[in-house]
Amino acid sequence: MTETAPDLLPIEETAVAASPGPADGYQVRLEIFEGPLDLLLFLIRKKKIDIHDIPIAAITRDYLDYLDRKEQINLDREAEFLFIAALLIYIKSQMLLPRETDLAEHEDPRRVLVDRLLVYQKIKAASSVLREKEEDQLLRWKRNFLPPLPGEAELDFVEVSLFDLAESFVLMMKRKEAEGGRVIKARDVSLEEKMKEIVGLLRERQMLDFLAYFEGQGSLEEGLVAFFCVLELVKSRQAIAVQDELFKTIRVWLRKDTRRAGHHE
């Protein structure tokens, strides 16, 4: 299982490694807290505090110190750090409220925070296990890392969801748009115009070889319209159509009265 493709790599291992850094002295890489719960857990551990009995006032103070220094927190996440700061202060205020009776455990205002910390702590431990597994797996090369064999492209089934398909479709449409190609619109063929054309021809030539006429049409659509015209003419008893044999041409001519009517026009 490899996520990496050869073209994504190699990325130079940068100054992060043990190699001596540039002239501006050495850099100390501080641990960066990705999120507020990360920082809180760190503080709780550092002070060897029982997670189920957090001294909120002290922890809040430490937490806000870190926030002020802004050195070790991911600043993109500042709002989320502040959100938990507000929660801490809220809990602190709740703890200060005088009560007539002692709080039962489930009424402890710290409860909501502790529950979240416990869940987060587990996830963090699980991700350290996953990291070990990942590091081990990355050392084990698999054949699916290698470029696919030729001709295999269409057989390379991957697990995709409806959303993948939708995304591909949107991308495809965007690419299409970017190409800026013009859409060539087929000429609309109106039945009425075609009818006039055919009647005109019939008058002119007496008889129409429909197959020859059909083949002379610009598009299939136009041919079909022409055929409809013939059907219409037959139905309205203006024309007669005869086909001697299946798949042979259809001969069409106008009825005498129609022709005469035409002459009167």
Binding site: A125, A126, V129, E134, L139, K142, E159
Partner: protein, 182 residues
């Protein structure tokens, strides 16, 4: 290898780029009994576990797959001209762990667990196909519901979600961390 079935399975696993499952082997070798296949497979895996092989047959992602031995990584990378492989970022890994343990789950739920907005991590993981969207939740806003994918299992060398560290194992890790710090 005297068993012709062992040799045949070796060929089938070799040509397979995804883990070859036992079900698939049975389907391909429909004339052969499942027990015989299992026995031959066990023998094959044992053969490859010996020290003089450069590859092993790994049981991962619910199937069997050839992989090189970890000791050879340096030279494999040199051969493929790859300096190193990218690892997942800390945020992505944490998000993945949260999905793995809480699936099926929505973005909002993951963000609450982590205490940070996880939209972009989820996107990254979807792109890498380590997560998949399995639908929408019947809740306000109909949020998307995420699950880990088959590729997730393979990526970490797991065969099923049951192989993720259990509650007890995690509790043990946390206990050890405490001791290490104390």
């Amino acid at each position: 290898m005297s068993n012709p079935l062992t040799s045949l399975l070796e060929a089938l696993i070799f040509v397979s780029q995804e883990p070859l499952t036992l079900e698939r082997m049975k389907a391909i070798l429909e004339e052969v009994s499942g027990d015989d296949i299992q026995a031959a497979l066990d023998e094959l895996v044992r053969n490859y576990a010996s020290e003089d092989k450069g590859m092993v047959i790994a049981h991962t992602g619910g199937g069997y797959l050839f992989t090189t031995k970890p000791d050879h990584d340096r030279w494999v990378r040199r051969a493929l001209q790859i300096e190193r492989k990218n690892k997942l970022s800390a945020a992505a890994l944490e998000t993945l762990a949260a999905v793995a343990y809480h699936q099926p789950v929505t973005q909002a739920e993951i963000s609450l667990i982590r205490g940070v907005d996880s939209t972009s991590s989820l996107k990254t993981l979807l792109d890498k196909k380590l997560l998949k969207i399995v639908g929408r939740k019947k809740a306000p806003g109909n949020p998307l519901v995420y699950r880990t994918s088959e590729r997730f299992l393979q990526y970490f060398g797991l065969n099923s979600l049951e192989e993720l560290p259990s509650e007890q194992e995690i509790a043990k890790i946390l206990e050890e961390e405490k001791v290490a710090e104390g």
